[in-house]
C-alpha cells in the first residue's frame, strides 16, 4: 500500500504492508529509537507516539501505542515521535520530569513524555485528572509513579495556566512544549495525497480485511498479508454519534474516547464515561473502536457486554445492501457471529424509550483499571415508580459469548424493585450462565462474583430510586 504522511517534520511517501506495526517501521527503518519496544501488545506504553489527523479541517492529536498501530493508518496523518518534539531546550514536560526525579532507568520515560505531550495537544481540558488519565497506559516499573505525579502537578501549573485553548498548537509552541513546525502542519496535511475518504457504499470483497483500531489484530504481530486492507477510519461518517427518531446512532468506528466525549451518550446513560476508563488505557481508547470490540467477540468483551443492555440493532452493510440484526441475537457461539465475510458493521442503533432509565456497568479484574475482567455485567432498567417496565441484563466471562441474559431480563419485567426479586433473579442468572475456570478465575469464583455484581446493580438502582 502506498501511503503519504508526515513523520515529525518530514513528508514521506512509502510503500508498506498496511498491517506492518508502526513501531517496527520507526525503529527498524527510520532508526527512531526513542520509541521503545516494551511489550508489543499495547500494555505498557513504552512505544507511545502522537498521531495527528485532520477531521473536517481541524487538526486533532492523540497519543497511541505504536506497537499495535498498523502502518496503513498513517496515511494522510502527522506521526510524531519524541525526536519530533525535542527542541534545543527541554520542553516543560521534559523539564518537570527531570526536576521531580520522575526518571529512574529511563526506558519508559519517552512514552510518558509522549503521552502527556499528546494530551496537551488534544482538545481536552488541562486538569490533573486528565493528565493522569493520559498516562494510565504507561507502565513504569521503577518509580512507583509518585515522582511522575509530582511532575504532572508541575506541568499542570506551568502549562495549564499558560495555555490558550482556542489555539493550543501556537500556544504550546510558545511555551516550547512543541517545536514551531507544528503550526504549519494543518496546511501541510491538506497538501498530502492521502486516500480520499472511502464511501461506505463501496463494495467489499469476500476477502476484504477491515481494520478498526488494530488494537487486537496486531497484538499477535502483523496479520497475514491481505491484498484488500481497508481502514475503518477512512470511511466517511462511520464514527458519528447522533440522535434521530428515538434512536441513538453510534457509528461502529467510534473509538472509546469518542464514546467518552459523546454528549448524547452521557446524557442518556450517565456514568458511561467513567466505565470507559475501566475498560482500556488512553493509548488504546484513542484508537480501539466499538465495532472492533464487537467483532472480536471475546466472551468478556467490555463494550459488547455494556452495549447489549442498551438493546440495540446492528446495521450491517452486506454486499450492496444493508441489513439489521438485533444485537442480543448477534453472538451465536464462541467467536461465531451473525456476520459473513465481506460484511461490515456500520453502526449500532440504540432505541430510546420514554420513562425513567437506570443504567449501570460493573467489572472486577485483578487490577482495577485496564485489565481483562474476571467477570463483568451491565444492566438497564426502565421504570415507572418502582415497577420495572423494561429490563436488560448482560454478563461477560460466564459463557462462550458476551451473554445477554434473556430469561432474567424477561422475568424482571413487570416486577416491583425489591430485595426478594433481586434474590430470585440471581437464581435465574445462575441458571443462565456456564462459566469455565481459566486465567481470569475459577468457575466457582465467577459464579459468586456475578451474584455479587447483580446485587451491585440492585444496590445502585435502589440508591438511585431514593
Amino acid at each position: 500500500m502506498k501511503i503519504n504522511f508526515i513523520l515529525n517534520n518530514e513528508e514521506l511517501k512509502i510503500d508498506i504492508d498496511p498491517q506492518f506495526p508502526t513501531l517496527r517501521f520507526l525503529r527498524e527503518e527510520k532508526g527512531l529509537t526513542s520509541v521503545k519496544t516494551g511489550c508489543g501488545e499495547g500494555e505498557c506504553g513504552a512505544c507511545t507516539v502522537i498521531l495527528g489527523s485532520l477531521d473536517n479541517g481541524v487538526l486533532n492529536y492523540k497519543n497511541v501505542a505504536s506497537c499495535i498501530l498498523p502502518a496503513g493508518e498513517l496515511n494522510g496523518k502527522h506521526l510524531v515521535t519524541l525526536e519530533g518534539i525535542n527542541g534545543p531546550e527541554l520542553s516543560p514536560v521534559q523539564k518537570a520530569f527531570v526536576d521531580e526525579g520522575a526518571i529512574q532507568c529511563g526506558f519508559c520515560t519517552p512514552g510518558f513524555i509522549m503521552s502527556i505531550t499528546g494530551f496537551l495537544l488534544s482538545d481536552r481540558d488541562i486538569t490533573m485528572e486528565n493528565i493522569l488519565n493520559s498516562i494510565d497506559g504507561n507502565i513504569c516499573r521503577c518509580t512507583g509513579y509518585y515522582s511522575i505525579k509530582r511532575a504532572a502537578e508541575k506541568i499542570l501549573k506551568i502549562v495549564g495556566t499558560g495555555i490558550d485553548n482556542k489555539d493550543r498548537i501556537s500556544s504550546l509552541a510558545g511555551l516550547s512544549a512543541i517545536p514551531d513546525y507544528f503550526t504549519e502542519i494543518p496546511e501541510r496535511l491538506k497538501g498530502l495525497t492521502g486516500s480520499p475518504d472511502m464511501d461506505s457504499e463501496s463494495t467489499a470483497k469476500e476477502n476484504t480485511l477491515y481494520i478498526g483500531g488494530g488494537t487486537d489484530l496486531l497484538v499477535s504481530g502483523s496479520g497475514k498479508p491481505n491484498p484488500d486492507v481497508r481502514f475503518i477510519s477512512d470511511i466517511k461518517n462511520i464514527s458519528d454519534i447522533f440522535e434521530d427518531n428515538n434512536f441513538i446512532h453510534v457509528g461502529a468506528g467510534s473509538t472509546v474516547e469518542d464514546i467518552i466525549d459523546s454528549e448524547i451518550l452521557n446524557k442518556y446513560f450517565p456514568g458511561i464515561s467513567d466505565f470507559m476508563y475501566l475498560i482500556s488505557s488512553q493509548i488504546i481508547r484513542n484508537t480501539a473502536t466499538l465495532g472492533g470490540n464487537i467483532v472480536n467477540a471475546s466472551p468478556i468483551g467490555d463494550l459488547s457486554v455494556l452495549f447489549l443492555v442498551l438493546d440495540p440493532v446492528l446495521e450491517i452493510k452486506s454486499g450492496d445492501g444493508i441489513r439489521e440484526v438485533l444485537f442480543k441475537e448477534f453472538f451465536k457461539d464462541y467467536k461465531v457471529m451473525d456476520l459473513e465475510p465481506g460484511e461490515l458493521i456500520l453502526k449500532i442503533k440504540i432505541p430510546v424509550y420514554p420513562g425513567k432509565r437506570f443504567f449501570n456497568f460493573e467489572k472486577v479484574s485483578r487490577r482495577k483499571y485496564l485489565d481483562i475482567a474476571s467477570c463483568n455485567s451491565a444492566s438497564c432498567f426502565y421504570l415507572e415508580g418502582d415497577v420495572i417496565k423494561k429490563c436488560d441484563l448482560s454478563a461477560g466471562g460466564v459463557a462462550p459469548v458476551p451473554l445477554y441474559m434473556k430469561e432474567s431480563s424477561a422475568w424482571l419485567t413487570g416486577k416491583e424493585v425489591s430485595k426478594e426479586i433481586m434474590n430470585k433473579v440471581i437464581e435465574i442468572v445462575m441458571d443462565e450462565i456456564s462459566p469455565i475456570s481459566d486465567v481470569r478465575g475459577s468457575s466457582d469464583y465467577k459464579r459468586e462474583l456475578l451474584r455479587r455484581l447483580i446485587k451491585a446493580h440492585f444496590i445502585k438502582l435502589n440508591g438511585w430510586l431514593k
Binding site: K36, F107, L132, I139, C140, G144, K368
Partner: protein, 748 residues
C-alpha cells in the same frame, strides 16, 4: 546537579542495547526453547529451516567449543540442552539469521520431539521425593523445644507466597562482536558483567582476558539480570565466535516472561509461642523454597531468607529451616529483597495469627518485640545502631498511628459496604552480600588534563541512581562541581573481577572504592599545590573547584592545578579497592556477623475493601525510613517509593500462575499485571531519617535499594484487617498475592 543522564532519557536519546546502530553484517539470534516442562529430547527435525532466506546457521550444544555450563554457584545448568529439558522455556537451539523475521519463520519450521517425564511444581512434593539442591539448613538459637512450655499461646499455620515477574521494562538483551579471530566483546544488559565474562569464557573455552564485557545502562534489573542475563549474553557470544559476525539477542516480552527466572515462590510452616503479655518466646519456621529447574542463586537466596526470618524482632528461642527444592519451573532467581520478603511475610503472618488467638492487636505484639540495641539475631550478630524503635516512634508521632486506628474503628462501625483496615510494617534488613567474598569493589579514576574527571567502577546503572551517587562521592571528595565528573560504562577491562550490582550494595562498595581512589588523587594534588604555592601541605584546602592557600587566602583554579600536576609528571590516575571489614560467617555453626550494618524503617499502610465486589484500594501509606546521610535525596526517595510499590504489587495484583504440569499461564503482559498509576495508594508520605548516621558506608550513607520493598507486606496485612472487619470469623489462608478471587471466596 549532574543532569546529563536524565536529560538524555527525557529526550529519548539514551541508548539501550536494542537501540544501538547495527553493523551491516549483524545476525539476529532466535532461541528455540522447550515447550514441555520436563522431558527427554528424542529427535530434532529442522525441516526446511536452513533453506529459509536469511537463515545462516542453527547452533546446538555440539557446537559449543568450551564447556556447556552456566551454573554460577552450582554447576547444574546447560546453556543449550543436551537431552533432558527441565522447564518449559529451556533453550535447545540457537537460530542465527539476517533478519528477525526469518529467525521466527525458522522457529515455526523446526519440530522437536520430546517425550514427557512427570513434572513436579510443588516444592513440598520435591522435598518428599528428595529432590533438593543442597541439604536443608537450620538456624538454631536458644532452646526452642523446651520454650513451648513457657508459652501461654502457641499458634501454628501455613503460609504461601507467590512468585513475581521482574517486568523490567527493557527485556533481556545482548549484542556480541567477534574481535579479530580469537576474542569477543559483549554488550549485555546485565547486573553482573563479570559473571557474563566468566561464563562466556567457559562456553567458548578461551581465557577471560579474551572476553570483554561492557554495560552502559539497564532498563531496569531488580535482580532479574543478576544471573538471568548470562545465558542470552553467552548465546550471543557463542554465535559471534562461531560465525565471526556480530550477533544480537533481544527477547520479546512473552519469551522473557516464559523463559527467565523470577522471585521464588515459598511454601512455609510456622509455629509461634507468646506469653500472656504478647512477648514472643519462641518461633519455628520451615521454608520450602520453590527453586525451579536449576540452582541459579537459590541457595544464597534461601540463606538470606534465614537471616531475615525474625524480621525486626528479638526472639529468644528460634529454629528456622530452609529447604531448596528443585521443581520443573523456570529457574527462580534474585529479586529485590532476595528471600527477605518471603521470610518476613511468614513471621508477620505468624504474628497476625497469634494476635487473633490472643485477642490482641498485631501492632502491639510487633511493638513489644522490636529489636533493641545489643539484642542478638538468631545467627549470632549483635545489633548495633539499632534504629528500628526510633523509626517506629517517629511514625507514631508524625503520622498519628493511634488516631488512624481509632478513626478506622469508627468508620467500620458506621459502614457495611466499605471496610477499612491498617497495618504497621517494620523492616530491618541486613546490608552486605551474605557471601563474604562478594563484598569487594574497585574503582578507576582519571583526571584528564582539562580537569574533567572520569570514574569507572564495578557498579551497573539500572535506574537506581548509582552513577549519580558515584558522581556525588567523587565531586565531594575532589571538591569540584559534579558537572566535571562523568561515570563511564561498566567494563571488565577497566575494573575487573567485579561483584554483581546487587544486595543494595552497589553504592556502598563502589562508593567506598571511588572515594578511596579520589583521596589518593587529592593527596598527590595537595603536594603539587603546596609546592607550587610554596607553602606547607597542611595549608592547602580544596573547595568548590578551587585550591586555596589558607595562609593568605590566595587560590588557583582546579584546572590550573591539574595542568601543573601533569607538567610535573604526577599521575592523574588512581585505582582503588575496597573490601567490607569485619564481616564473617561460619556455616558449620550458622553463626557470625554477615552484615556490615542493618537498614531500618517502619510503614503504616491504610486500605479499604469493597465488601460486595471483593476489591480493595489503598488510601494512604506513611513511611519512616532510615537512610543515613543520604548521598542523593531525590534518588533515595525514588528508591523508597518505587521499592514499596513493587512490594505492594507482589502481595496484591501480581499473580504468577503455572499449570499443574508446569507451563506458565500468565505468560504475557495482558495476563501478568504490574501496578499502574491508578493502582497506587492515593497518598504517600516518606520521612527520611537522615540524622541516624552510619559509620559503615560511604560518607555516612546507607544502602536503600531493597529494604523498602518489604513495606509492601503491610499492604497485605492491611487488607486482611479490612476482611476481618467485614467478617470477624473469616477463614483466609496466609497466601499472597491477595487477589479479589481469594477475598470473594473467603467472604462466601
Amino acid at each position: 546537579m549532574n543532569n546529563n543522564e536524565v536529560i538524555k532519557h527525557v529526550r529519548g536519546e539514551s541508548q539501550f542495547i536494542d537501540d544501538l546502530k547495527l553493523p551491516h553484517d549483524i545476525l539476529y539470534g532466535t532461541v528455540l526453547t522447550s515447550e514441555i516442562p520436563h522431558g527427554k529430547i528424542e529427535k530434532i527435525d529442522l525441516g526446511n529451516a536452513l533453506s529459509i532466506k536469511g537463515v545462516v546457521q542453527i547452533i546446538d550444544h555440539h557446537d559449543i567449543p568450551g564447556e556447556n555450563q552456566i551454573g554460577a554457584i552450582i554447576r547444574d545448568e546447560e546453556l543449550l540442552s543436551e537431552g533432558i529439558v527441565k522447564f518449559a522455556g529451556e533453550p535447545i537451539l540457537l537460530i542465527l539469521s539476517e533478519s528477525l523475521d526469518s529467525g521466527r519463520e525458522a522457529l515455526k519450521e523446526i519440530k522437536v520431539d520430546i517425550s514427557p517425564i512427570p513434572a513436579i511444581t510443588d516444592p513440598r512434593e520435591s522435598f518428599r521425593a528428595g529432590n533438593l539442591i543442597v541439604p536443608p539448613r537450620t538456624f538454631d538459637y536458644g532452646d526452642t523445644d523446651s520454650a513451648w512450655e513457657k508459652c501461654e499461646i502457641v499458634a501454628e499455620g501455613r503460609v504461601e507466597s507467590g512468585g513475581q515477574e521482574h517486568f523490567y521494562m527493557e527485556t533481556q538483551a545482548s549484542l556480541a562482536y567477534p574481535v579479530e579471530k580469537d576474542s569477543v566483546k559483549v554488550l549485555s544488559s546485565t547486573q553482573s558483567p563479570t559473571a557474563v565474562q566468566k561464563t562466556v569464557s567457559g562456553i567458548l573455552g578461551i581465557p577471560m582476558n579474551r572476553v570483554e564485557v561492557d554495560v552502559r545502562r539497564l532498563g531496569g534489573g531488580f535482580g532479574g539480570k543478576e544471573d538471568q542475563a548470562t545465558p542470552w549474553a553467552a548465546m550471543a557470544a557463542l554465535g559471534a565466535y562461531i560465525t565471526k559476525r556480530p550477533v544480537k539477542i533481544v527477547l520479546s516480552r512473552s519469551d522473557d516472561i516464559r523463559n527467565t527466572g523470577k522471585r521464588h515462590p515459598f511454601s512455609s510452616d510456622f509455629k509461634i509461642g507468646l506469653d500472656s503479655s504478647g512477648k514472643i518466646i519462641a518461633y519455628e519456621a520451615t521454608f520450602y523454597q520453590n527453586c525451579g529447574a536449576y540452582a541459579d542463586l537459590s541457595t544464597a537466596i534461601l540463606e538470606r531468607a534465614l537471616f531475615h526470618a525474625t524480621n525486626s524482632y528479638y526472639i529468644p528461642n528460634v529454629r528456622v529451616t530452609g529447604i531448596s527444592c528443585y521443581t520443573n519451573l523456570p529457574p527462580f532467581t534474585a529479586f529485590r529483597g532476595f528471600g527477605g520478603p518471603q521470610a518476613m511475610f511468614v513471621i508477620e503472618s505468624a504474628i497476625s495469627k497469634a494476635a487473633t488467638e490472643i485477642n490482641m492487636s498485631a501492632r502491639k505484639i510487633q511493638e513489644m518485640n522490636l529489636l533493641k540495641e545489643g539484642d542478638v539475631f538468631p545467627y549470632g550478630m549483635v545489633t548495633e545502631n539499632c534504629n528500628i524503635s526510633a523509626t517506629w516512634k517517629k511514625l507514631e508521632e508524625k503520622f498519628q498511628v493511634e488516631e488512624t486506628y481509632k478513626k478506622i474503628g469508627e468508620f467500620n462501625r458506621k459502614n457495611d459496604h466499605i471496610k477499612k483496615g491498617a497495618a504497621v510494617m517494620p523492616v530491618s534488613f541486613g546490608i552486605s552480600f551474605t557471601n563474604k567474598m562478594l563484598n569487594q569493589a574497585g574503582a578507576l579514576v582519571h583526571i584528564y588534563t582539562d580537569g574533567s574527571v572520569s570514574v569507572s567502577t564495578g557498579a551497573v546503572e539500572m535506574g537506581q541512581g548509582v552513577n549519580k551517587k558515584m558522581i556525588n562521592v567523587a565531586a565531594e571528595t575532589l571538591s569540584i562541581p559534579s558537572s566535571r565528573v562523568r561515570v563511564e560504562t561498566t567494563n571488565t577491562t577497566r575494573v575487573a573481577n567485579t561483584s554483581p550490582t546487587a544486595a543494595s550494595s552497589g553504592a556502598d562498595l563502589n562508593g567506598m572504592a571511588t572515594r578511596s581512589a579520589c583521596i589518593g588523587l587529592v593527596k598527590r594534588l595537595r603536594s603539587v599545590a603546596a609546592k607550587s604555592m610554596g607553602v606547607d601541605i597542611d595549608q592547602i584546602k580544596f573547595e568548590s573547584g578551587k585550591v586555596f592557600n589558607t595562609g593568605n587566602g590566595q587560590s588557583i583554579m582546579w584546572e590550573e592545578l591539574i595542568g601543573k600536576a601533569y607538567a610535573e609528571r604526577v599521575s592523574l590516575t588512581s585505582q582503588a579497592y575496597y573490601a567490607t571489614p569485619d564481616i564473617y560467617f561460619d556455616k558449620t555453626k550458622e553463626r557470625g556477623k554477615p552484615f556490615a550494618y542493618h537498614v531500618f524503617g517502619t510503614a503504616l499502610i491504610e486500605a479499604e475493601l469493597d465488601v460486595l465486589r471483593g476489591v480493595y484500594k489503598f488510601n494512604r501509606v506513611s513511611i519512616v525510613h532510615d537512610t543515613g546521610k543520604s548521598l542523593d535525596q531525590q534518588t533515595d526517595l525514588g528508591q523508597i517509593e518505587g521499592g514499596f510499590i513493587q512490594g505492594l504489587g507482589w502481595v496484591t495484583v501480581e499473580e504468577l500462575l503455572f499449570e499443574e504440569g508446569g507451563k506458565i499461564i500468565t505468560g504475557g503482559s495482558s495476563t501478568y499485571k504490574v501496578p499502574d498509576i491508578k493502582f497506587i495508594p492515593d497518598e504517600i508520605n516518606v520521612e527520611m531519617m537522615q540524622d541516624l548516621k552510619n559509620p559503615y558506608a560511604v560518607l555516612g550513607s546507607k544502602a536503600v535499594g531493597e529494604p523498602p520493598f518489604m513495606y509492601g507486606i503491610g499492604g497485605y496485612l492491611a487488607v486482611r484487617e479490612c476482611l476481618f472487619a467485614a467478617k470477624p470469623d473469616v477463614q483466609l489462608k496466609y497466601d499472597c498475592p491477595l487477589t479479589p478471587e481469594k477475598i470473594t471466596i473467603s467472604l462466601m
